[in-house]
Amino acid sequence: MNSRRDFLKNVGLGMVGASLVRPALSWAAEANSQAVPGKEGMILRSFRFLDLEAPPEFLNTWLTPVPHFFVRNHMFEPSSLEAGEWRLSVGGEVEKPMSLSLGELSKLESHTVTNTLECAGNGRAFHKPQLPGVQWEKGAVGNARFTGPRLADILKRAGVKETGKHVMFRGLDEVPGKVPPFVRSIPIEKAMDSDTLVATHMNGAPLNKHHGFPARALVPGWIGAASCKWLTEIKVLEKEFEGNFMKPGYRLSNQPVAPGGSVNPDDTHPVTALNVKSVIATPNDGATVRGRVVQIHGVAWAGEADIVKVDVSTDAGASWRPAELGKEQARYAWRTWSHAWKPPRAGEYTVMARATDSQGRVQPDIAAWNPSGYLYNAIDKVKIHVQG
């Protein structure tokens, strides 16, 4: 078996800078193919770092099974993490800094929030002009039940000072080279929200390593990057954390940006809540379908808002009909939807889905372009062939 050091020794042939050598990665060394145990069938955007996307047909259930839940890593997952040794420190602008073990954390009152987690860059591949970054299409999104103590309960124990205005999360991601660490912060109001958690469980089971074992932040309705994995430090700050992943990363311009245009970094704000969006799970783009009735399925979500309706078009947007929304609902969770369509005749069709939310937001024809490709939410469409 090759360790990462062996890898460096062999590949480097003396050319790799010693400053970049990192500890061995046991999981990477074990994986000698495209196998990622427990994640079969996912789209492999990257293995090292691990970035996995759900194919559209996986986005078809109220709760996304963990094997079908997307994985977004900016850097290496922790190479070794012992639950017995793990600690969560709470400090900064608090009266009583503290450090919690997993056992202590598990004794706190537990809450469950069903939340749709979406990577800010989901759909980046559809932006024109194209943009650098992981070329996510539809599936850097999933819906799961997250369980753990409220962040507010932990912060109240520590006693947030008047000066505490933002809450910083640090995870145990292993940072290569001189890459800035993945550290971000959220405003104190969101941190104290009764639905913001330090989650230890996902769909009723302890978090697995790809999803932040043993604990992660869960900031409902917000971009996935807010929900720091492998959480090890919570620090209350007087102001927003200053670091690459808060600025210039994960920001949007305060001004409209023309496609291909540039942004003044000082005239921006952090990306927080998700957009209104729906995607078509089935049929797949390019599919051939048969039968008198074609079942069109998908999911729709709106961050901190509620989905009000999803409309479906089967004639490339010339006319729209309401889809039927699934019964299950929760404040920050997606709605499943379906539409039974009787094609008038065999042929080529463009099927489209358009969501509307409780804030009056409607999925646009063209998503707002921005230089990082965040929050893509254009009306989803698939082209299908109906056989006679």
Partner: protein, 109 residues
């Protein structure tokens, strides 16, 4: 002397083969970077921290590749200053906006 050189050459070939195997093991069977004068430079500069897939899925202008390469140098990628421009040319020629999108693979069993 000849024998010694032969052993050195053999050792080099073996080390390259081992390196290739290790590279594939670490990268989950990721495809190689495009052939070209800067292929080896790109392998060592970029793939120390991440695999080829993340490079191969990009379709960027020369200006965008320049920003990416300079960001990565700032973040620790080891690129000889005399190779910087050629590396940018290599990436922006092989992975330009007019190239067809890279097909993504699925996680296997």
């Amino acid at each position: 002397m000849f024998k010694g050189s032969g052993r050195a050459v053999l050792a080099f070939i073996v080390s390259v083969l081992l390196g290739t195997c290790a590279l594939r093991a670490q990268s989950g069977g990721a495809p190689d970077l495009p052939a070209g004068a800067m292929q080896a430079t790109a392998r060592t500069a970029c793939m120390e921290c991440h695999e080829s897939r993340i490079i191969l899925q990009q379709r960027l202008s020369k200006a965008a590749w320049t920003k990416e390469v300079d960001k990565m140098i700032k973040w620790g990628a080891v690129v000889d200053p005399k190779d910087r421009d050629a590396l940018i040319d290599y990436l922006s020629t092989n992975l330009s906006v007019d190239k067809a999108a890279e097909a993504a693979s699925r996680v296997g069993k």
